[in-house]
Amino acid sequence: MASEKVKTFTDSNFDDETRQGVVLVDLWAEWCGPCRRLAPTVDALAQEFDGRATVAKLDVDENPNVPGRYAVRGIPTLLLFKDGQLVEQLVGLKAKEEIADAIQRQL
């Protein structure tokens, strides 16, 4: 269902994929109701920032290392990177405008 503009990250490709540019990563899991509600927003952001920022999802069930590294104990959590540096961590359901503003600030 996810838009093809949304990439899929894993523990193994995470560092490579976040190294350059502005990257938004949605940490989610199948069993998380609010994550399902955030999915269309993440899809829409991928469309909106296509070519300017990378938007990706990471399934915390299959990839425990990334959430562990950033002390993530709740989902949905959005991690925002600029050139490999974590610049913002948004916890819980957020409005699309709020996330878009956070990305925009890094562009």
Binding site: G33, V60, V72, R73, G74, V91, G92, K96
Partner: protein, 330 residues
């Protein structure tokens, strides 16, 4: 002319039932989901007290089918939230998160309630780092770790029981010396060997903000004043809810706790504005009572609209443009 005859704000059981009934009354409702789409049931697991499902149904599944049912009869669902309302003029005007405005003859408010936080600032600072208000979302991260649940009602017991799937030990911290939860939930909790209780106590502090994660809590005994530190990795807060009425402050009558005041069914003090579900109910707060009041709001709105002709150009008299136009969100 207004864009819509009726708009429903909120997509929990109250909002979706109001949409279902107004759709079946040919009012072509527009439903604005809101940020916490699907409402509180999206955060639950098995719902065992929704009539008609003798074996129970998963909360998120129930909301999915409820929404499909509302859509089947002509409800338009918008995945956005309302950032501003103007209920002083008619038709009523709503501004969405994306800046668009919508006008409507009648409005049904079903914005529900959201989990309440502790009245200490250390809990919010560690939200997402060990402090949570959603066991089904975040329990997974506490596999093999000790945690606490704050509260003594049904939700608190449900969370505590659910969390024993992951946690080594669940300590329930409660302000009183007995539970408020229903008998069946109490029995389940007392029978669970992983659940322990600390009575007459509140959480004074969540540690450790400087480390950016939960390492423990400081518990204050309300009778003796004694402070005790408890090392653990997670805190789940289940101390009730606050109604989502900030949007309507100053425009609709609210009670001192912030709930919308309704009378004669679902009427608010503004004619044409109706309220249903947890946003106006601090007593029952059940999915089924929310749905019931959603139905009442739909019928009340229908009766109200009987006296408001559909083609009346109400705004010409007010000299005000009402077409849905994009304007910057304030």
């Amino acid at each position: 002319m207004a864009d819509r005859r009726v708009v429903v704000i909120g997509s929990g059981p109250a909002g979706l039932t109001a949409a279902l009934y107004t759709a079946r009354a040919n009012l072509r409702p527009l439903l604005i989901e809101g940020l916490e789409a699907g409402g509180q049931l999206m955060l639950t697991t098995m719902v065992e007290n929704w009539p008609g499902f003798e074996d129970g149904i998963m909360g998120p599944d129930l909301m999915t089918v409820m929404r499909k049912q509302a859509e089947r009869f002509g409800t338009t669902v918008i995945q956005d939230h309302v950032s501003k309302v103007d209920l002083q003029k008619r038709p009523f005007r709503l501004t969405l998160g994306d800046g668009k405005t919508i006008t409507t003859d009648a409005l049904i408010i079903a914005t529900g309630a959201s989990a309440r936080w502790l009245e200490i600032d250390t809990d919010r600072k560690l939200s997402g780092h060990g402090v949570s208000t959603c066991a089904t979302c975040d329990g997974y991260f506490f596999r093999g770790r000790p945690i606490a649940v704050v509260g003594g009602g049904d939700s608190a017991m449900e969370e505590a029981i659910y969390l024993t799937r992951f946690a080594t030990k669940v300590t329930v911290v409660h302000r009183r010396d007995s539970l408020r939860a229903s008998k069946i939930m109490q029995d389940k909790a007392y029978a669970n060997p992983k659940i322990h209780f600390i009575w007459d106590s509140e959480v004074a502090e969540v540690k450790d903000v400087s480390k950016g994660e939960v390492t423990g809590i400081v518990v204050r005994n309300l009778k003796t004043g004694k402070l005790t530190e408890l090392p653990l990795d997670g805190v789940f807060i289940a101390i009730g809810h606050t109604p989502n009425t900030k949007l309507f402050e100053g425009q609709i009558e609210l009670d001192p706790a912030g709930y919308i005041v309704t009378r004669d069914g679902t009427h608010t003090n503004v004619p044409g504005v109706f309220a249903a579900g947890d946003v106006q109910d601090h007593i029952y707060r059940q999915a089924i009572t929310a749905a019931g009041s959603g139905c009442m709001a739909a019928i009340d709105a229908e009766h109200y609209l009987d006296d408001i002709p559909e083609d009346l150009d109400q705004t010409a008299a007010q000299g005000d443009a009402v077409q849905a136009t994009a304007e910057p969100a304030s």
